[in-house]
Amino acid sequence: MDVGISILVWLVLSIVLVFMLLTGFAYTTLLERRVIARFQSRVGPNRAGPQGLLQPLADGVKLIFKEEIIPASADKVTFILAPLLAVIPAIVVFAVIPFGSSIELFGVKVPLTLAPNMNVGILYVLAITSVSVYGIVLAGWASNSKYSMLGGLRSSAQMISYELAMGLSLVALVVVAGTLDLNAIVEQQKQVWYFFLQPFGAIIFMITALAEVNRAPFDMPEAEQELTSGYNTEYSGMKFALFYMAEYIKMIVISALSVTFFFGGYREPLPLFLTQALPFLSVDHTPLLGPLYFGLKIIALLIVQVWVRATLPRFRYDRLMKFGWLVLLPISLAWVMITALVVLLRG
């Protein structure tokens, strides 16, 4: 395969991916609003289009035409930069996430990952998530508002604290998997999901991931009841929409990561006997099913996140920090040691 075609494939793939993420973001907002409405014995938005399917479009149009206000005493460059810094890392993480094995298109073998078989995949994920806090911190600082500032401070402290436990939960996974390559990790889960081998790791990862993306019950930085809207208090129009976009794309990202690490990635979520009986359901047989399975699993985890938000009140900030340092960190450390010991003993 010559370089030209590979660059073309890469371009097409990334455009498709970004497009899917943006649509996914739009419909995640709708999914959240509809699902949360059912939890609260309401109907939810159902007026724009059939079943409210055009609601995200209406929201987008509204936000585009809103007036953009930049506070007089804000740090203008940083103020404009912050929403971009929030969105870009969220999208960029997707480069290493495999959403399928590989398919044949017009005689060209196309891997369904932007950067396949990257042997630092997990590190890449950690690096990008650690950078993603900048958008929020800078928004908080640049707005020159006390609420925003408190939101920014909270988020930086929170993210640093929870990153540690998150990293450790992944260390345990790497010890078992023996690789940092996400494609390899997915393929290793052909028989058994890592969720069953690494239950603590998986739970800690999902909790910390919730904290990393500031979703309820860890939505400190934008705690509505205390900080009105926290870091994005002063934002309006499309810049506000970008923060919104970042939050929901991050939701998709952490769902995708959880699926990849612990729930078999794009592998079929079906018992073995079923795929043996009906082999065309297996990803090995029909690679095109990979993205479908992957998408379904992501939606399932998105609904879990919405469920959590509809159910739980918010932590208090200091307790959140205590929980991170005194509960999650020791447990994840112990879990790494136990995993290492078991792997060592079994050879």
């Binding site: 940083t78 630092v120 590190l123 950690l126 650690s130 800078l138 600082w141 940092l180």
Partner: protein, 182 residues
């Protein structure tokens, strides 16, 4: 391909140097910190160019991610981001410029005096020093003792920091008691 590499290198180098200079001359501490982040990130890209993905990722995760966020946190918490318009030490700037020029010249001299450069284009598959496995192997075999020593050093530093802040709170508690007894 070589040309492309050189172009990328040149652009990155320019960005890095400009960001580094801006970091020093920015009057706003938060802006300085942001320029430092740019420097760190472009360093990570250099590492990538040198086929060292592991170091590159660690560079981003640790320096650009964790450490700089802590810097920002402290800057914001202290509210010290806006330094005064006046330079505190008037002789600082000329001295700094002079020293910089000196260091650059020295470096150039050193480089020119060493053996001439030779560009070797290695096939990607042959480069293994930068991978996670290679670094892990090295750290836990050859460099095990320094590695552990450094980690103990960091632990000691951390405990020291905790102890020092603790003392302050004890002092506060004593003050409280004194206030109450009055």
């Amino acid at each position: 391909m070589l040309n492309l590499e050189i172009i990328i290198f040149g652009a990155l180098a320019l960005i890095t140097v400009v960001a580094a200079v801006m970091m020093i001359i920015a009057r706003n501490a938060v802006h300085s910190a942001l320029f430092l982040v740019v420097v760190m990130s472009s360093l990570a890209v250099f590492f990538l160019g040198l086929w060292a993905p592991f170091i590159a990722m660690v560079q981003v995760a640790l320096y650009a991610g964790a450490i700089m966020v802590l810097f920002l946190f402290v800057i914001m918490l202290l509210g010290a981001e806006r330094a005064g318009a006046r330079l505190l030490l008037a002789w600082q700037a000329p001295l700094a410029i002079g020293l910089t020029v000196l260091v650059v010249l020295l470096g150039a001299l050193l480089l020119l005096n060493t053996a001439p450069f030779e560009v070797v284009d290695l096939p990607a598959a042959e480069i293994t020093e930068g991978t996670a496995e290679a670094i892990g192997q090295a750290l836990y075999s050859v460099w095990l003792f320094p590695f552990e020593a450094v980690s103990i050093l960091l632990l000691v530093a951390m405990i020291g920091a905790v102890v020092m802040t603790r003392q302050e709170t004890r002092q506060e508690a004593r003050d409280e008691r004194k206030k109450k007894s009055l």
